[in-house]
């Protein structure tokens, strides 16, 4: 084995591009590990941890560092050359009709070239995201911040500024949104219709919009507010703005609001506003309001599933559709008694906790929820365990589990190997930005579990969050899972109820 590094000066590539190059180079003959990173201290630390750096390579912040471990010097040199060639290839800027001219290197330059632009979609590394969003607001643009790791003080400053200028800030950490039919970030391809959604953003929004799509109804707008918007600090600034905008939007007939429980003062303000929207409002605040509190004009839904169905009913003639309580599933084998839920979607994980927390004792998670216990070691399950694999602890230095299934595949095998695992529940999230064929990526692990454990193994229970128009195809993904012996639910709430029934039955 031999290791080597190479520094490419004065070059910047985004993390996705770098991961793609790393992955291509890793697959070359004779290469055991390869990584291309921007040489930030955090990234260098990751290379150290991965054993790809034995000493300080002396790379600077504005340099790309290639680090390779290979069988011999020839393979090493080939890999370094290949990585450098990929890095130096001019990035393809797919702007049709653009003449061979200077790349657009700043928001301002882009706005000069595209005077009518009205939204900046910002997905830069966190420490730079506030600056990019600030510039966009100063230039009169609405903002969607896909970036995470943005300090809450920055979020407040940005949203205050936007409020002053009549602009909208979606996010930070806004994974998805749909504006006038255009999917932004990780969004599903859904029908257009008259249902407007306000969500913290991420998989809650995706679940509700996909379920609405499945009924034949559609989405007018879907606004992601960022997970902290309804905190006391941020004060619901974007939610308020979105609620007003949807109330005014002639294309929106029904409003759905999805969130973790808001701070009480914020909740009061938002619900007041919602009650005056002049349109039906469905609120799924996952555990809020406590008890049977009611606010006139607002229908509360306790799951994403029910929020979607209530919205559809309001959009149509009031006829309420419903999903079955559970789907048919085999009984867990003797001695198998615990649920292991491996989510790629954070809101889906939270919904599961809200449904299971009151029903079972000793539910563990890496997501904090008031009736569950925090796992001491998120890498090792205990009792019933419900995990958000998109949590920072799992994504540090690697792609999100919706893009890269390696981490979840490893965890699937680990949970299956535990003789006490009764049910392994997982989500498969489709849409733009997600893995191009997630079931294919999971298939080897799922097949291995079936092969090793047969009918005595844990029950595999999954559901697909997506639409038929998504690039991955809902039907194709579902068939793939069914062929692998996975019990299929229609949505997260149904899957959680099914798992709950199985576990109660086996106790």
């Amino acid at each position: 084995m031999t290791m080597g590094t190479r520094i490419i000066a004065d070059l910047y590539r985004d993390s996705v591009a770098l991961m793609q190059i790393s992955s291509t180079v890793s697959q070359l003959d004779g290469v055991s590990q390869a990584s291309c990173i921007m040489a930030t201290p955090a990234n260098l630390e990751l290379l150290h941890e991965a054993g790809l750096l034995s000493e300080d390579p002396g790379a600077l912040l504005n340099e790309v560092l290639i680090a390779v471990e290979a069988d011999n010097d020839d393979s090493l040199a080939r890999a370094l050359d290949a990585a450098e060639a990929e890095l130096r290839a001019e990035p393809v800027t797919a702007t049709p009709g653009a003449e061979q001219s200077e790349p657009l290197r700043s928001v301002e330059m882009a706005l000069d070239a595209h005077v009518g632009a009205n939204l900046a979609l910002i997905a830069t590394p966190g420490p730079f995201a506030t600056a990019e969003a600030t510039k966009a607001l100063h230039l009169g643009l609405n903002v969607m911040m896909f970036s995470d790791n943005v300090p809450v003080e920055d979020e407040i400053a940005l949203k205050t500024r936007a409020e002053r200028d009549g602009l909208m800030v979606m996010g930070p950490d806004c994974g998805t949104a749909i504006v006038d039919g255009a999917p932004l970030g990780f969004a599903n391809v859904v029908r257009r219709g008259d249902i407007g959604i306000i969500a913290a953003s991420g998989t809650g929004l995706q679940q509700v919009s996909c379920l609405i799509d499945a009924t034949g109804c559609g989405i007018s707008q879907a606004i992601g507010t960022g997970g902290r918007d309804l905190s006391a600090q941020v004060g619901g600034r974007t939610t308020i703005r979105a609620m007003r905008a949807l109330a005014d939007d002639p294309d929106t007939g029904v409003i759905v609001m999805i969130s973790k429980p808001p701070a009480p003062d914020v909740a009061a303000a938002i619900l007041d506003l919602a009650a005056q929207a002049g349109k039906p409002v469905i609120a799924s605040l996952l555990g809020f309001p406590p008890g049977d509190a009611t606010v006139s004009g607002i229908t509360f839904a306790d799951t994403l599933e029910s929020a979607a169905l209530l919205a559809v009913a309001a959009s149509r003639d009031g006829t309420q559709l419903s999903f079955d309580e559970t789907v048919a599933a085999p009984e867990p084998a003797r001695g198998r008694k615990y649920l292991r839920a491996l989510y790629s979607g954070g809101t889906l994980c939270y919904e599961a906790l809200s449904m299971l927390g009151g029903r079972f004792d000793g539910v563990h998670s890496n997501t904090s929820y008031d009736t569950t216990q925090t796992l001491n070691d998120p890498w090792s399950s205990a009792g019933h365990t419900v995990l958000d694999l998109g949590d920072d602890v799992f994504t540090r230095g690697r792609p999100h589990p919706m893009i890269d299934h390696r981490l979840r595949n490893e965890r699937l095998l680990a949970e299956a190997a535990d003789p006490e695992t009764a049910v392994i529940l997982f989500d498969v999230v489709l849409g733009h930005g997600s893995h191009e064929d997630p079931v294919a990526a999971m298939a080897p692990s799922l097949a291995q579990i079936r092969e090793e454990h047969g009918d005595d193994g844990p029950v595999l229970l999954g559901f697909v969050c997506g639409t038929q128009a998504d690039p991955q195809g809902l039907a194709r993904q579902k068939k793939g899972l069914a062929d692998l012996g996975v019990v299929l639910a229609e949505n997260n709430a149904q899957a959680v109820r099914t798992a709950g029934g199985m576990l109660e039955g086996s106790q």
Binding site: T93, E102, L104, E108, L121, I122, P127, F128, G140, G433
Partner: protein
């Protein structure tokens, strides 16, 4: 309310290019920013963000840029530095670029300082001159601090004759020394007796002859002459062949009218005719004049000087007073004369980058296909440079137009915000001096102003804004 709904969604995509395709597939307009972290420093990025489209800065820049555009540098005469520079001390030597101490100067500048001490008669030998220069008895200051500019070492000592330019619009006066010609010259650090003798000839013969000639000519507006030269293949920094010819065309009738002594007339005309760069110093002083008009507008982010002392590169900004924002000067990777290489090159030197600061030189490279190869590029590079600079400038100067770009005016008024935001560094055409004193020019090339100067200036400008702005 938000203009987000109902208006046609049109997206600027920053950071992850894969997000563009679905938006485009949905039938919406989307444009990718080829993003890199501004200055690779999030603190600078934050400072910059506060400045972008800031109403006070926009207003200040309009004012500064208008002042730049309306300046009318006019040649009015020639005079000795001690007579025309206000408060120049008896033993002061001016040099190019930002301030620098004798101990830190590069060899060509030290050689030129030594030569100036000999020229002034302050020392009898080279050794005495160097001792004097290091003794603390000589005051060193940038030419820029006296309204002057000089190419390469840019040395101006009290008894050197200077071009005097006056801008009647803003009542500014600027200066430059007289070009010595090519070969062994003081500006490259040469200081043997021939060099000193030639400087004495410039003082004793050329200077008075030009004074007499200009008395006949009256004043001469320089912008029209430079504009004409741009249409004749000069970029008026590294190529001044046309401008020098246009100048002498104006000077000769006046020189004849001045009834100069025939030998003097012959020597002066022969000297000017032999030097295609004779106009360079006038071009520089004219650019300095336009930029001085723009300097000192509070909160303006317009660059009003870029200059190098052979060790450091410095910029000044209209709204940031007289502070220099500096970074190490780069060694230029250009084309070298036979027998020389990068190893022989001194780091970037001279005040002549005032031309780029003013929107000509490399910014007008499209005007000068004749020298694109000399400075190491192709014609299409030249056009691309002129186009690219438009992305970091406040506007265009319709006094200077580029035939090869359909008479588009040259981009002018470098904005520190745009430089840091785009990472596009101002481009500069430059000669390359030998790192040893007195060898002379060893090549030429294209270089870029170091971005660190602009980052530092952005941070400083952000600090001048009132909180809550």
């Amino acid at each position: 309310m938000s203009n987000l709904f109902g208006a046609e969604l049109s997206v600027i995509n920053v950071g992850l290019s894969q997000f563009a395709d679905p938006i485009r597939a949905a039938g919406n307009d989307v444009v990718d920013v080829t993003w890199a972290p501004p200055a690779h420093d999030d603190a600078v990025a934050r400072a910059l963000a506060q400045l972008v489209n800031h109403p006070d800065i926009e207003a200040a820049n309009r004012k500064a840029f208008d002042r730049y555009l309306s300046a009318q540098p006019t040649l009015t005469g020639v005079g000795l530095a001690r007579d025309v520079l206000s408060d120049l001390g008896d033993r002061t030597i001016l040099h190019s670029g930002p301030p620098i101490a004798w101990e830190d100067m590069c060899a060509p500048v030290r050689g030129a300082v030594t030569g100036a001490c000999l020229y002034e008669g302050w020392a009898g030998t080279h050794a005495e001159a160097e001792t004097l220069a290091g003794s603390g008895e000589i005051t060193f200051a940038p030419c820029h601090h006296f309204g002057a500019v000089g190419p390469m070492a840019g040395i101006i000592s009290p008894s050197m004759p200077l071009w005097i330019l006056h801008d009647p619009i803003h009542d500014n006066t600027t200066f430059s020394n007289l070009n010595e010609g090519l070969g062994k010259v003081l500006r490259f650090g040469a200081n043997n007796q021939d060099v000193i003798d030639h400087l004495h000839w410039i003082r004793d013969v050329l200077g008075p002859a030009l004074t007499a000639t200009l008395e006949q000519l009256g004043t001469l507006e320089l912008k029209p002459l430079m504009a004409q030269a741009l249409h004749m293949g000069d970029e008026v920094h590294n190529r001044n062949a046309a401008a020098s010819a246009l100048l002498i065309k104006r000077l000769i009738p006046a020189a004849l009218d001045a009834r100069l002594d025939p030998d003097t007339l012959s020597a002066v005309v022969t000297f000017i005719n032999s030097n295609d760069h004779f106009f360079l110093n006038l071009s520089m002083a004219a650019c300095k004049s336009m930029l001085d008009a723009a300097h000192g507008v509070a909160e303006s982010s317009m660059v009003t000087a870029m200059a190098r002392n052979g060790v450091n590169f410095g910029i000044r900004v209209s709204g940031l007073g007289d502070t220099w924002y500096q970074a190490p000067a780069a060694v230029i990777d250009g084309l070298f004369f036979p027998g020389y290489s990068t190893d022989d090159a001194n780091p970037d030197l001279g005040d002549s980058s005032i031309t780029e600061t003013s929107g000509i030189g490399a910014f007008a490279m499209a005007a000068s296909p004749a020298i694109v190869q000399f400075v190491g590029g192709t014609s299409s590079d030249a056009l691309a440079n002129s186009r690219r600079m438009a992305h970091i400038t406040l506007g265009r100067n319709s006094a200077f137009t580029l035939p090869a770009l359909d008479f588009t005016p040259t981009p002018a008024g470098i904005d520190i915000r745009k430089v840091v935001d785009t990472g596009i560094a101002p481009v500069i055409n430059t000669g390359i001096a030998h790192r040893d004193a007195g060898v002379g020019q060893v090549g030429a090339g294209i270089t870029n102003a170091p971005l660190a100067c602009f980052s530092a200036a952005v941070t400083a400008l952000a600090e001048t804004l009132q909180p809550g702005d």
